[in-house]
Protein backbone atom coordinates (compact mmCIF):
# COMPACT_ATOMS: atom_id res chain seq x y z
CA UNK A 1 0.00 0.00 0.00
CA UNK A 2 1.41 3.36 -0.92
CA UNK A 3 -0.48 5.97 1.07
CA UNK A 4 0.02 9.64 0.28
CA UNK A 5 0.40 11.35 3.64
CA UNK A 6 -1.32 14.70 4.03
CA UNK A 7 0.86 17.56 5.21
CA UNK A 8 -0.33 20.06 7.81
CA UNK A 9 -0.52 22.98 5.37
CA UNK A 10 -2.88 20.95 3.20
CA UNK A 11 -5.14 20.40 6.18
CA UNK A 12 -5.03 24.08 7.11
CA UNK A 13 -6.28 24.87 3.62
CA UNK A 14 -9.35 22.74 4.38
CA UNK A 15 -9.68 24.52 7.71
CA UNK A 16 -9.59 27.82 5.84
CA UNK A 17 -12.70 26.72 3.94
CA UNK A 18 -14.61 26.14 7.18
CA UNK A 19 -13.40 29.48 8.48
CA UNK A 20 -14.60 31.21 5.30
CA UNK A 21 -17.99 29.55 5.75
CA UNK A 22 -18.16 30.74 9.36
CA UNK A 23 -17.32 34.31 8.30
CA UNK A 24 -20.02 34.21 5.61
CA UNK A 25 -22.72 32.96 8.01
CA UNK A 26 -21.64 35.58 10.53
CA UNK A 27 -21.99 38.36 7.95
CA UNK A 28 -25.39 37.00 6.92
CA UNK A 29 -26.41 37.00 10.63
CA UNK A 30 -27.34 33.33 10.58
CA UNK A 31 -25.74 32.84 13.98
CA UNK A 32 -24.11 29.58 12.98
CA UNK A 33 -20.55 30.90 12.89
CA UNK A 34 -19.78 30.32 16.54
CA UNK A 35 -21.06 26.75 16.80
CA UNK A 36 -19.42 25.92 13.46
CA UNK A 37 -16.02 27.09 14.70
CA UNK A 38 -16.42 25.33 18.03
CA UNK A 39 -17.36 22.08 16.30
CA UNK A 40 -14.42 22.40 13.89
CA UNK A 41 -11.96 23.03 16.70
CA UNK A 42 -13.40 20.06 18.60
CA UNK A 43 -12.95 17.87 15.52
CA UNK A 44 -9.28 18.79 15.29
CA UNK A 45 -8.55 18.32 18.97
CA UNK A 46 -10.60 15.14 19.42
CA UNK A 47 -9.32 13.45 16.28
CA UNK A 48 -5.69 14.39 17.00
CA UNK A 49 -6.01 12.98 20.49
CA UNK A 50 -7.71 9.81 19.34
CA UNK A 51 -5.01 9.46 16.67
CA UNK A 52 -2.35 9.55 19.37
CA UNK A 53 -4.36 7.16 21.54
CA UNK A 54 -4.85 4.75 18.66
CA UNK A 55 -1.17 4.88 17.71
CA UNK A 56 -0.13 3.87 21.21
CA UNK A 57 -3.02 1.40 21.52
CA UNK A 58 -1.99 -0.33 18.28
CA UNK A 59 1.50 -0.58 19.75
CA UNK A 60 0.29 -2.13 23.03
CA UNK A 61 -2.69 -4.04 21.66
CA UNK A 62 -3.82 -5.54 25.00
CA UNK A 63 -7.43 -6.49 25.71
CA UNK A 64 -7.46 -4.39 28.89
CA UNK A 65 -6.66 -1.13 27.10
CA UNK A 66 -9.03 -1.88 24.24
CA UNK A 67 -11.87 -2.51 26.73
CA UNK A 68 -11.06 0.65 28.67
CA UNK A 69 -11.20 2.78 25.53
CA UNK A 70 -14.43 1.04 24.48
CA UNK A 71 -15.97 1.79 27.86
CA UNK A 72 -14.95 5.43 27.68
CA UNK A 73 -16.46 5.70 24.20
CA UNK A 74 -19.72 4.15 25.44
CA UNK A 75 -20.04 6.49 28.42
CA UNK A 76 -19.28 9.51 26.28
CA UNK A 77 -21.93 8.42 23.76
CA UNK A 78 -24.44 7.99 26.60
CA UNK A 79 -23.68 11.47 27.85
CA UNK A 80 -24.12 12.85 24.31
CA UNK A 81 -27.53 11.17 24.01
CA UNK A 82 -28.68 12.69 27.29
CA UNK A 83 -27.40 16.16 26.42
CA UNK A 84 -29.16 16.21 23.04
CA UNK A 85 -32.66 15.87 24.53
CA UNK A 86 -35.07 18.78 24.75
CA UNK A 87 -36.86 16.89 27.55
CA UNK A 88 -34.74 14.59 29.68
CA UNK A 89 -35.91 11.89 32.06
CA UNK A 90 -35.29 12.88 35.66
CA UNK A 91 -32.63 11.23 37.79
CA UNK A 92 -30.17 10.40 35.00
CA UNK A 93 -32.57 7.98 33.35
CA UNK A 94 -31.95 9.43 29.89
CA UNK A 95 -28.25 8.66 30.28
CA UNK A 96 -29.04 5.19 31.62
CA UNK A 97 -31.54 4.36 28.89
CA UNK A 98 -29.21 5.66 26.16
CA UNK A 99 -26.14 3.88 27.49
CA UNK A 100 -27.94 0.61 28.10
CA UNK A 101 -29.53 0.52 24.66
CA UNK A 102 -26.18 1.28 23.00
CA UNK A 103 -24.43 -1.31 25.14
CA UNK A 104 -26.90 -3.99 24.14
CA UNK A 105 -27.00 -3.15 20.44
CA UNK A 106 -23.74 -1.51 19.30
CA UNK A 107 -21.48 -3.55 21.59
CA UNK A 108 -23.06 -6.91 20.86
CA UNK A 109 -23.04 -6.34 17.12
CA UNK A 110 -19.41 -5.17 17.19
CA UNK A 111 -18.51 -8.34 19.07
CA UNK A 112 -20.41 -10.44 16.57
CA UNK A 113 -18.67 -8.74 13.63
CA UNK A 114 -15.27 -9.18 15.24
CA UNK A 115 -15.55 -12.74 16.45
CA UNK A 116 -17.59 -14.35 13.68
CA UNK A 117 -17.38 -12.19 10.58
CA UNK A 118 -14.00 -10.45 10.36
CA UNK A 119 -12.19 -12.70 12.84
CA UNK A 120 -8.82 -10.94 13.18
CA UNK A 121 -6.11 -12.54 15.33
CA UNK A 122 -6.60 -11.86 18.25
CA UNK A 123 -10.30 -10.96 17.92
CA UNK A 124 -9.92 -7.68 19.82
CA UNK A 125 -7.05 -6.42 17.62
CA UNK A 126 -7.47 -2.63 18.05
CA UNK A 127 -6.93 -1.83 14.37
CA UNK A 128 -10.29 -3.58 13.68
CA UNK A 129 -12.18 -3.38 16.94
CA UNK A 130 -11.91 0.33 17.74
CA UNK A 131 -12.89 1.80 14.33
CA UNK A 132 -15.71 -0.74 14.03
CA UNK A 133 -17.06 0.06 17.47
CA UNK A 134 -16.67 3.78 16.84
CA UNK A 135 -18.63 3.63 13.63
CA UNK A 136 -21.42 1.56 15.18
CA UNK A 137 -21.55 3.58 18.36
CA UNK A 138 -21.64 6.88 16.46
CA UNK A 139 -24.54 5.86 14.28
CA UNK A 140 -26.47 4.15 17.06
CA UNK A 141 -25.96 7.23 19.21
CA UNK A 142 -27.50 9.46 16.55
CA UNK A 143 -30.44 7.10 16.13
CA UNK A 144 -31.06 6.74 19.86
CA UNK A 145 -30.73 10.50 20.47
CA UNK A 146 -33.12 11.39 17.63
CA UNK A 147 -35.71 8.82 18.64
CA UNK A 148 -35.67 9.69 22.35
CA UNK A 149 -35.95 13.38 21.55
CA UNK A 150 -38.92 12.77 19.28
CA UNK A 151 -40.57 10.42 21.79
CA UNK A 152 -40.35 12.66 24.84
CA UNK A 153 -41.26 15.83 22.99
CA UNK A 154 -44.31 14.38 21.24
CA UNK A 155 -45.56 12.65 24.39
CA UNK A 156 -45.10 15.84 26.37
CA UNK A 157 -47.02 17.80 23.74
CA UNK A 158 -49.81 15.21 23.36
CA UNK A 159 -50.47 14.45 27.02
CA UNK A 160 -54.23 14.99 26.65
CA UNK A 161 -54.48 12.48 23.79
CA UNK A 162 -52.56 9.81 25.70
CA UNK A 163 -54.55 10.39 28.88
CA UNK A 164 -57.84 10.31 27.00
CA UNK A 165 -56.83 6.97 25.49
CA UNK A 166 -55.94 5.68 28.96
CA UNK A 167 -59.38 6.81 30.16
CA UNK A 168 -60.93 4.56 27.53
CA UNK A 169 -59.09 1.61 29.07
CA UNK A 170 -56.33 1.27 26.52
CA UNK A 171 -53.10 -0.28 27.84
CA UNK A 172 -50.17 2.15 27.98
CA UNK A 173 -48.43 0.52 25.02
CA UNK A 174 -51.46 1.18 22.84
CA UNK A 175 -52.10 4.66 24.23
CA UNK A 176 -48.67 5.83 23.02
CA UNK A 177 -48.27 3.50 20.02
CA UNK A 178 -48.24 6.28 17.40
CA UNK A 179 -45.60 8.20 19.34
CA UNK A 180 -43.37 5.16 19.74
CA UNK A 181 -43.74 4.42 16.04
CA UNK A 182 -42.83 7.98 15.03
CA UNK A 183 -39.86 7.93 17.38
CA UNK A 184 -38.56 4.66 15.88
CA UNK A 185 -38.96 6.11 12.40
CA UNK A 186 -37.10 9.30 13.35
CA UNK A 187 -34.21 7.26 14.72
CA UNK A 188 -33.96 4.84 11.80
CA UNK A 189 -34.61 7.16 8.86
CA UNK A 190 -31.00 8.41 8.45
CA UNK A 191 -29.72 4.82 8.32
CA UNK A 192 -32.41 3.66 5.90
CA UNK A 193 -31.69 6.65 3.67
CA UNK A 194 -27.96 5.95 3.81
CA UNK A 195 -28.47 2.31 2.76
CA UNK A 196 -30.86 3.24 -0.04
CA UNK A 197 -28.59 5.93 -1.47
CA UNK A 198 -25.22 4.24 -0.85
CA UNK A 199 -23.05 4.09 -3.94
CA UNK A 200 -25.48 6.06 -6.11
CA UNK A 201 -25.80 9.42 -4.43
CA UNK A 202 -22.60 9.23 -2.41
CA UNK A 203 -19.73 6.93 -1.58
CA UNK A 204 -19.93 6.03 2.09
CA UNK A 205 -17.23 7.60 4.26
CA UNK A 206 -15.50 4.44 5.32
CA UNK A 207 -15.29 3.08 1.78
CA UNK A 208 -13.94 6.38 0.51
CA UNK A 209 -11.34 6.38 3.24
CA UNK A 210 -10.26 2.82 2.44
CA UNK A 211 -10.03 3.46 -1.30
CA UNK A 212 -8.08 6.66 -0.74
CA UNK A 213 -5.65 4.79 1.48
CA UNK A 214 -5.03 2.18 -1.24
CA UNK A 215 -7.44 -0.74 -0.62
CA UNK A 216 -8.93 -2.30 -3.73
CA UNK A 217 -12.54 -1.11 -4.30
CA UNK A 218 -13.93 -4.69 -4.28
CA UNK A 219 -12.64 -5.32 -0.78
CA UNK A 220 -13.71 -1.85 0.33
CA UNK A 221 -17.24 -2.57 -0.95
CA UNK A 222 -17.49 -5.80 1.03
CA UNK A 223 -16.42 -4.06 4.19
CA UNK A 224 -18.84 -1.24 3.49
CA UNK A 225 -21.78 -3.61 3.08
CA UNK A 226 -20.84 -5.32 6.32
CA UNK A 227 -20.60 -1.95 8.04
CA UNK A 228 -23.91 -0.67 6.66
CA UNK A 229 -25.78 -3.80 7.74
CA UNK A 230 -24.13 -3.70 11.14
CA UNK A 231 -25.03 -0.03 11.48
CA UNK A 232 -28.62 -0.63 10.38
CA UNK A 233 -29.14 -3.45 12.88
CA UNK A 234 -27.23 -1.65 15.63
CA UNK A 235 -29.23 1.53 15.17
CA UNK A 236 -32.47 -0.40 14.81
CA UNK A 237 -32.09 -2.53 17.93
CA UNK A 238 -30.65 0.38 19.89
CA UNK A 239 -33.52 2.66 18.95
CA UNK A 240 -36.06 -0.06 19.68
CA UNK A 241 -34.65 -0.72 23.14
CA UNK A 242 -34.32 2.98 23.95
CA UNK A 243 -37.89 3.81 22.84
CA UNK A 244 -39.31 0.84 24.74
CA UNK A 245 -37.46 1.64 27.97
CA UNK A 246 -38.10 5.38 27.83
CA UNK A 247 -41.81 5.04 27.05
CA UNK A 248 -42.21 2.50 29.85
CA UNK A 249 -40.52 4.98 32.17
CA UNK A 250 -43.15 7.60 31.26
CA UNK A 251 -45.89 5.45 32.82
CA UNK A 252 -46.02 4.21 36.40
CA UNK A 253 -47.16 0.83 37.74
CA UNK A 254 -50.81 1.83 37.43
CA UNK A 255 -50.23 2.89 33.81
CA UNK A 256 -50.63 6.58 34.58
CA UNK A 257 -48.92 9.02 32.25
CA UNK A 258 -46.02 10.57 34.16
CA UNK A 259 -44.68 13.45 32.06
CA UNK A 260 -43.65 14.98 35.40
CA UNK A 261 -40.69 12.61 35.10
CA UNK A 262 -39.37 14.82 32.29
CA UNK A 263 -37.37 17.98 32.78
CA UNK A 264 -36.77 20.56 30.12
CA UNK A 265 -33.12 21.04 29.25
CA UNK A 266 -31.78 24.51 29.83
CA UNK A 267 -29.77 24.60 26.62
CA UNK A 268 -32.84 24.25 24.37
Amino acid sequence: MNVIDLSWWQLSLAAGLVLALAVCTHIARLQLGKSLIIAAVRTVIQLTLIGLVLDSLFAVGSLLWVSLLALAMLLFAGQQVASRQKYRLRGGWSFAVGTLSMLVSAFCITLLCLVVLIAPEPWYQPQYSIPLLGMLLGNTMTGVALSLDRLTESMQRSRDIIENRLMLGQPWQQACLEFRRDAMRAGLMPTINAMAAAGIVFLPGMMTGQILSGTSPTIAVKYQILILFAIASGTGFGTFIAVTLASRKLFDKRERLRTDRLIKSKSH
Binding site: D160, M167, G169, E178, D252, R254, E255, R256
Partner: protein, 201 residues
Protein backbone atom coordinates in the same frame (compact mmCIF):
# COMPACT_ATOMS: atom_id res chain seq x y z
CA UNK B 1 -74.27 -3.74 37.06
CA UNK B 2 -72.18 -3.68 40.23
CA UNK B 3 -71.92 -1.00 42.88
CA UNK B 4 -69.01 1.50 42.95
CA UNK B 5 -67.78 2.33 46.45
CA UNK B 6 -65.37 5.05 47.53
CA UNK B 7 -63.82 4.56 50.98
CA UNK B 8 -61.61 7.09 52.80
CA UNK B 9 -60.37 8.58 49.55
CA UNK B 10 -57.89 11.46 49.84
CA UNK B 11 -56.97 13.35 46.70
CA UNK B 12 -55.80 16.95 46.36
CA UNK B 13 -57.72 19.08 48.84
CA UNK B 14 -60.25 16.33 49.66
CA UNK B 15 -59.57 14.27 52.78
CA UNK B 16 -60.95 10.81 53.60
CA UNK B 17 -64.22 11.04 51.74
CA UNK B 18 -66.54 8.06 51.43
CA UNK B 19 -69.66 7.42 49.39
CA UNK B 20 -71.15 4.70 47.29
CA UNK B 21 -72.86 4.70 43.93
CA UNK B 22 -75.83 2.44 43.35
CA UNK B 23 -76.40 0.85 39.93
CA UNK B 24 -78.53 3.01 37.65
CA UNK B 25 -78.32 6.00 39.98
CA UNK B 26 -76.90 9.43 39.12
CA UNK B 27 -74.89 11.23 41.78
CA UNK B 28 -74.27 14.86 40.93
CA UNK B 29 -71.16 16.50 42.30
CA UNK B 30 -70.82 20.25 42.30
CA UNK B 31 -68.51 22.79 43.84
CA UNK B 32 -66.64 25.97 43.00
CA UNK B 33 -64.02 25.75 40.27
CA UNK B 34 -60.70 24.58 41.63
CA UNK B 35 -62.36 22.66 44.46
CA UNK B 36 -61.08 19.37 43.05
CA UNK B 37 -64.04 17.85 41.18
CA UNK B 38 -62.00 16.78 38.17
CA UNK B 39 -59.17 15.44 40.31
CA UNK B 40 -61.69 13.41 42.28
CA UNK B 41 -62.90 11.82 39.04
CA UNK B 42 -59.32 11.25 37.90
CA UNK B 43 -58.54 9.48 41.17
CA UNK B 44 -61.59 7.25 40.84
CA UNK B 45 -60.44 6.39 37.30
CA UNK B 46 -56.97 5.74 38.81
CA UNK B 47 -55.28 8.38 36.65
CA UNK B 48 -53.80 10.07 39.72
CA UNK B 49 -52.23 8.47 42.74
CA UNK B 50 -54.40 8.77 45.83
CA UNK B 51 -54.95 7.33 49.28
CA UNK B 52 -57.94 5.18 50.20
CA UNK B 53 -59.91 2.40 48.54
CA UNK B 54 -62.23 2.37 45.58
CA UNK B 55 -64.18 -0.81 44.95
CA UNK B 56 -66.17 -2.05 42.01
CA UNK B 57 -68.28 -5.09 42.73
CA UNK B 58 -66.53 -5.24 46.15
CA UNK B 59 -63.18 -5.78 44.44
CA UNK B 60 -60.54 -3.09 45.10
CA UNK B 61 -59.06 -0.97 42.33
CA UNK B 62 -55.60 -2.47 42.85
CA UNK B 63 -56.89 -5.97 42.16
CA UNK B 64 -57.64 -4.99 38.56
CA UNK B 65 -54.85 -4.30 36.05
CA UNK B 66 -55.02 -0.50 35.62
CA UNK B 67 -56.36 -0.57 32.06
CA UNK B 68 -59.05 -3.12 32.96
CA UNK B 69 -60.20 -0.83 35.75
CA UNK B 70 -60.37 2.21 33.47
CA UNK B 71 -62.19 0.20 30.82
CA UNK B 72 -64.88 -0.59 33.39
CA UNK B 73 -64.96 2.77 35.17
CA UNK B 74 -64.80 5.14 32.23
CA UNK B 75 -64.08 8.82 32.70
CA UNK B 76 -65.39 11.19 30.05
CA UNK B 77 -63.41 14.43 30.49
CA UNK B 78 -64.84 17.89 29.90
CA UNK B 79 -62.43 18.39 26.99
CA UNK B 80 -62.11 15.29 24.84
CA UNK B 81 -59.01 14.53 22.76
CA UNK B 82 -59.10 12.85 19.35
CA UNK B 83 -56.12 11.20 17.69
CA UNK B 84 -57.36 9.52 14.49
CA UNK B 85 -58.59 11.09 11.26
CA UNK B 86 -62.22 9.97 11.29
CA UNK B 87 -64.78 9.74 14.09
CA UNK B 88 -65.45 6.04 13.50
CA UNK B 89 -61.91 4.83 14.14
CA UNK B 90 -62.19 6.05 17.74
CA UNK B 91 -65.14 3.75 18.47
CA UNK B 92 -64.51 0.23 19.65
CA UNK B 93 -67.69 -0.94 17.94
CA UNK B 94 -69.93 0.96 15.49
CA UNK B 95 -72.59 2.93 17.39
CA UNK B 96 -75.41 3.58 14.89
CA UNK B 97 -78.23 3.67 17.47
CA UNK B 98 -76.52 6.09 19.83
CA UNK B 99 -75.62 8.40 16.94
CA UNK B 100 -79.20 8.30 15.71
CA UNK B 101 -80.57 9.02 19.18
CA UNK B 102 -78.37 12.13 19.42
CA UNK B 103 -79.52 13.34 16.00
CA UNK B 104 -76.32 12.59 14.09
CA UNK B 105 -76.69 11.51 10.44
CA UNK B 106 -75.75 8.00 9.30
CA UNK B 107 -72.37 8.92 7.85
CA UNK B 108 -71.10 10.55 11.07
CA UNK B 109 -68.49 7.81 11.63
CA UNK B 110 -66.83 8.90 8.38
CA UNK B 111 -66.61 12.55 9.48
CA UNK B 112 -63.20 14.19 9.78
CA UNK B 113 -62.32 14.84 13.40
CA UNK B 114 -60.70 18.22 12.74
CA UNK B 115 -64.00 19.58 11.42
CA UNK B 116 -66.04 18.78 14.54
CA UNK B 117 -67.45 21.62 16.62
CA UNK B 118 -66.87 21.58 20.38
CA UNK B 119 -70.49 20.56 20.96
CA UNK B 120 -70.20 17.70 18.49
CA UNK B 121 -66.97 16.57 20.10
CA UNK B 122 -68.58 16.54 23.51
CA UNK B 123 -71.50 14.38 22.42
CA UNK B 124 -69.35 12.07 20.30
CA UNK B 125 -66.98 11.61 23.26
CA UNK B 126 -69.94 10.19 25.21
CA UNK B 127 -70.77 7.84 22.34
CA UNK B 128 -67.11 6.83 22.11
CA UNK B 129 -66.93 6.02 25.83
CA UNK B 130 -70.11 3.91 25.62
CA UNK B 131 -68.69 1.96 22.67
CA UNK B 132 -66.15 0.51 25.14
CA UNK B 133 -69.03 -1.03 27.18
CA UNK B 134 -68.25 0.45 30.60
CA UNK B 135 -69.69 -0.72 33.93
CA UNK B 136 -69.67 2.72 35.57
CA UNK B 137 -69.61 6.28 34.24
CA UNK B 138 -67.71 9.33 35.46
CA UNK B 139 -68.97 12.34 33.51
CA UNK B 140 -67.15 15.65 33.87
CA UNK B 141 -69.61 18.37 32.84
CA UNK B 142 -70.90 16.38 29.87
CA UNK B 143 -73.12 19.19 28.60
CA UNK B 144 -70.81 22.19 29.16
CA UNK B 145 -70.49 23.07 25.46
CA UNK B 146 -74.12 22.47 24.48
CA UNK B 147 -77.08 24.81 23.97
CA UNK B 148 -80.24 24.47 26.06
CA UNK B 149 -82.19 22.21 23.68
CA UNK B 150 -79.25 19.89 22.98
CA UNK B 151 -78.44 19.74 26.69
CA UNK B 152 -81.90 18.41 27.49
CA UNK B 153 -81.75 15.97 24.58
CA UNK B 154 -78.41 14.60 25.82
CA UNK B 155 -79.74 14.44 29.39
CA UNK B 156 -82.76 12.39 28.35
CA UNK B 157 -80.59 10.05 26.29
CA UNK B 158 -78.03 9.56 29.07
CA UNK B 159 -80.67 9.04 31.77
CA UNK B 160 -82.39 6.37 29.67
CA UNK B 161 -79.07 4.60 29.03
CA UNK B 162 -77.95 4.80 32.65
CA UNK B 163 -81.26 3.27 33.76
CA UNK B 164 -81.25 0.62 31.03
CA UNK B 165 -77.65 -0.54 31.62
CA UNK B 166 -77.77 0.29 35.34
CA UNK B 167 -74.49 2.21 35.30
CA UNK B 168 -73.49 3.71 38.65
CA UNK B 169 -72.82 7.32 37.56
CA UNK B 170 -71.06 10.43 38.79
CA UNK B 171 -72.12 13.55 36.90
CA UNK B 172 -70.21 16.73 37.64
CA UNK B 173 -72.59 19.63 37.02
CA UNK B 174 -72.74 23.36 37.63
CA UNK B 175 -76.31 24.34 36.90
CA UNK B 176 -78.79 23.97 39.75
CA UNK B 177 -81.64 23.39 37.28
CA UNK B 178 -79.76 20.55 35.62
CA UNK B 179 -79.00 18.90 38.96
CA UNK B 180 -82.70 19.08 39.88
CA UNK B 181 -83.61 17.44 36.55
CA UNK B 182 -81.15 14.54 36.63
CA UNK B 183 -79.80 13.78 40.10
CA UNK B 184 -80.83 11.00 42.44
CA UNK B 185 -78.31 12.35 44.88
CA UNK B 186 -76.38 15.61 45.11
CA UNK B 187 -73.02 16.10 46.81
CA UNK B 188 -71.16 19.39 46.99
CA UNK B 189 -67.55 19.95 47.82
CA UNK B 190 -67.23 22.07 50.95
CA UNK B 191 -63.66 22.50 52.10
CA UNK B 192 -62.07 19.08 52.28
CA UNK B 193 -65.35 17.14 52.52
CA UNK B 194 -68.40 16.22 50.46
CA UNK B 195 -71.72 17.49 51.80
CA UNK B 196 -75.07 15.89 51.03
CA UNK B 197 -77.59 18.32 49.48
CA UNK B 198 -81.34 17.89 49.39
CA UNK B 199 -83.01 17.33 46.09
CA UNK B 200 -86.37 18.90 45.34
CA UNK B 201 -88.16 16.82 42.77
Amino acid sequence: MPELKVKDLSIGTLVRISFSLKPGRITCISGPSGSGKSRLLRAIADLESHAGDILLDNKPQGAYPAHHWRRRVILVPAQSAWWGDTVGEHFLTPMPRALLALGFPEDTEKWQVNRLSSGEKQRLALVRALSYRPQALLLDEPTANLDVDTTQEVERWLIALIEKHRYPTIWVAHSREQIQRIAHRHLTIVGDQLEEQEIHR
